[in-house]
């Protein structure tokens, strides 16, 4: 079947009248298998993950030491939370984490989004010459642009977030640098998460936790890997029983491989960012749109709660681009047309690393 299926299973949940209020809470929407989503702040990422970040899940972002792209993800995540008035907890190894709040992007005004809508409309002209077309429902129901409360905003990275989004908001900022161990931080997280517990009553709001660079060398606890692992484990279990999402970034190059693997397994959704070399002629030949790219984003795992069926993505690596230098978009990587005469680009791209000079004993 071409296109997105409107439903993932044969059964659809019976939504009672009381729980219809959920759809009125901005920033939350129903997902498959009784889960709920909240937005990551990046519309393309929401689409790739099938709706957004699942409530109750742990999202890990693997950083690249050479590029600050994980900060883009964290910024959009935090801004989206502030726009939807969701309580926010932010922790970083900087001495003054409050300063980071000044760099959060502002949602784009609607007149800039017209170019997006045009792309959506062109897809509706899909012509299918068989009878199953009648099963295609609304594929683009998420793209309602009218109405003030959107599920996911497009953020303008050049404009800082306006002040009125900060006022009256619960924003906790914690510096990880001074604490010798994680116990105080753990207590803060637990008390934060106890505000948004998951129970049978109606959900009022969802919380967001953003932890930047866990395991950065400035923190004293960075070599106590067991402590960090037990912290993450207990955070994951607390989050499961609350209506919140935690996004944690960590630098895999600075921690031991075993620890990095353990963190990757602990994550419900695992994403990694990678830097790309500048003015690399090989890459420019291999990929279209290389000039606009700032980095690569790979999705390794997508959270699947209440189900055994994994998500298999069509593509796992996406290029990060800044459209008009303002908003972050993720695109599939497209291979540039291979020049038939040279015929060598395939050979050079299939080698994982190493020199393009062939040695004497190369097959």
């Amino acid at each position: 079947m071409a296109g997105n299926k409107p439903r993932g299973s044969s059964f659809s949940r019976n939504f009672s009248a009381a729980s219809n209020t959920i759809s009125q809470i901005p920033g939350l929407k129903h997902g498959p298998n009784g889960t709920m989503f909240l937005s990551s702040g990046i519309p393309d990422l929401d689409k790739i993950l099938g709706g957004g970040f699942t409530l109750g899940s742990l999202v890990m972002v693997m950083e690249d030491p050479e590029a600050p792209h994980h900060m883009l993800l964290i910024r959009n995540f935090m801004s989206q939370g502030l726009v939807h008035k969701q309580p926010l907890l932010y922790a970083s190894p900087a001495k003054d984490p409050r300063g980071f709040l000044g760099t959060l992007p502002s949602p784009m005004l609607s007149k800039d989004e017209k170019s997006r809508d045009r792309d959506a409309e062109q897809e509706k002209g899909l012509r299918i010459a068989w009878q199953y077309k009648k099963y295609f429902g609304e594929q683009n129901s998420e793209l309602q642009r009218d109405g003030k409360s959107e599920y996911c905003n497009d953020f303008d990275l050049r404009k800082p977030l306006e002040r009125h989004f900060y006022s009256g908001q619960q924003i906790d900022c914690i510096s990880l640098q001074d604490s010798a161990d994680l116990t105080t931080f753990h207590d803060r997280c637990s008390s934060f998460l106890s505000q948004t517990p998951r129970n049978d009553r109606n959900i009022t709001c969802a919380g967001r936790i953003a932890i930047q660079s866990l395991g950065a060398p400035q923190c004293d606890f960075s070599d106590k890997e067991c402590d960090m692992l037990s912290f993450i484990r207990s955070l994951k279990s607390t989050i499961r029983s609350s209506n919140a999402v935690a996004v944690i970034t960590f630098p895999p190059s600075l921690v031991s491989p075993a620890f990095s693997k353990r963190l990757q397994h602990l994550a419900d959704t695992l994403v990694s960012v990678k830097a790309i070399p500048d003015e690399d002629k090989e890459l420019a030949k291999l990929l279209t749109g290389y000039q606009d790219m700032v980095g690569l984003l790979s999705v390794h795992k997508v959270a699947r709660i209440n189900t055994q069926v994994p998500t298999i993505l069509e593509a796992t690596t996406f290029s990060m681009k800044l459209r008009k230098r303002r908003s972050l978009i993720l695109e599939c990587l497209n291979q540039a047309p291979v020049d038939g005469s040279t015929g060598s680009s395939y050979a050079s791209s299939s080698s994982c690393s190493g020199s393009s000079k062939t040695g004497a004993i190369d097959f």
């Binding site: 409107p6 044969s10 590029a67 012509r127 950065a216 070399p277 690569l296 990587l333 497209n334």
Partner: protein
């Protein structure tokens, strides 16, 4: 390129951004890191004296070489030492890093040795306490540039020496606090990469925005060390080498550059790479897909294709596409009829079960006629 790095350091940090940080790395095969350090230091000092840079002064934290050495260095480069009071301060952590000398002098064990002191140097005796060191550096900096908008450069003679006394996490904390300090314009440090663990080196590379590593021009062919290393290689490596630069740009891309250098009487000289050096192609091999998007022209062409068995209806004779020509006139009609087939999605007020057939080779049900597809 060395000039590029010096210019990047000279331009300093933007408002609200971390200061650019340079790591200069070397190893025993090419032990010229200190010469590169001296070169960068003298370049920056000439920029500062000529008032062309963002910063107005340098705070030099000298661990491995004393302030007298640097005085000589500046003299030899032609900088006016007398006025150096205005733009440089040296934090002397080399003469008495742990305070032992002063303790011995107090207790009278050794005679009071008067070392040649300079007006720009201040003695620091407690290198194990990095919080105090940070305070000392920032105070010296404020002394130089005042309390307002002035900025200063911090140069650390050797982070390897610092790592002898304290842990990597405190050094990393110091460096990151310096980077985020409002008045620091840029900072750079020297590191000897073969005497530290990879974790420490990775941490320092994580904190820096530019890395220069000095490497030998040629490595011994067999990789053997000791007596079997050929003398010509050694000689060549002692006269010059290559620097590899990794530059983290603001937009998140990484720039890789290389240059050669040779050691001369007056110092170090950089030249662009002469030989056809092996360019190591580090291709990322992401899983690239073929271009599935259509351009405008392709879209139009696709719209013109007549598909077989499509509901062409309306009593006309069915036109089966035989691959030879494309028809234009039926396009709008076909779109209209297929649009009618889209049913509205069931209302979400009630739960329901929808059954999708799993496989095609099941026996066809009685209610489903596979010939429904065809419009005959």
């Amino acid at each position: 390129m060395a000039e590029r790095i010096c210019r990047a350091l000279r331009d300093g940090a933007l408002e609200g951004e971390h200061a650019p940080a340079l790591t200069i790395k070397d190893s025993i095969q090419s032990p010229f890191g200190s010469l590169v350090f001296n070169h960068v230091l003298s370049q920056l000092s000439s920029f500062i004296v000529a008032q062309k840079s963002q910063s107005q002064g340098i705070v030099l934290v000298a661990f491995s070489r004393g302030p007298l050495y640097y005085e000589e260095l500046f003299k030899s480069k032609g900088n006016d030492v007398a006025s150096s009071n205005k733009w440089i301060r040296v934090l002397d952590c080399c003469t008495d890093p742990l305070g032992w000398r002063s303790k011995l002098m107090e207790s009278g064990r050794i005679a009071n040795l008067t070392l040649g002191t300079s007006t720009t140097a201040s003695l620091y005796k407690n290198v194990k306490d990095l919080d105090k060191l940070l305070l000392a550096i920032t105070e010296l900096g404020k002394e130089l540039v005042g309390d307002g908008k002035g900025r200063f450069v911090v140069a650390i003679d050797s982070v390897s020496e610092m790592l002898r006394h304290t842990s990597i996490s405190s050094v990393a904390g110091l460096l990151s606090n310096l980077r985020s300090h409002d008045q620091v314009s840029c900072l750079f440090w020297l590191l000897h990469s073969d005497i530290h663990e990879t974790k420490a080196i990775a941490a320092l590379e994580y904190l820096s925005s530019m890395q220069v590593s000095a490497e030998p021009i040629t490595r011994p062919v067999n990789g053997q060390r000791g007596n079997s290393v050929k003398l010509p290689f050694l000689e060549q490596n002692l006269r010059g080498g290559k620097i590899h630069v990794r530059f983290k740009r603001r937009n998140g891309r990484v720039r890789l550059m290389s240059e050669e250098f040779c050691i001369e009487q007056s110092g170090i000289k950089f030249t662009p790479i002469s030989s056809e050096a092996e360019m190591i192609a580090q291709s990322l091999v992401p899983k690239v897909q073929f271009n599935l998007q259509l351009s405008e022209k392709e879209r139009n062409d696709r719209a013109k294709v007549v598909l077989p068995f499509e509901h062409q209806g309306n009593g006309k004779t069915i036109q089966i596409y035989d691959g030879r020509k494309s028809l234009n006139e039926d396009k709008p009609e076909m779109q209209y009829t297929s649009a009618e087939k889209v049913q509205t999605v069931k209302d979400s007020g009630r739960g329901e079960i929808i059954y999708f057939r799993d496989s095609d080779d099941e026996m066809p049900d009685s209610d489903e006629d596979p010939d429904d597809d065809l419009d005959i």
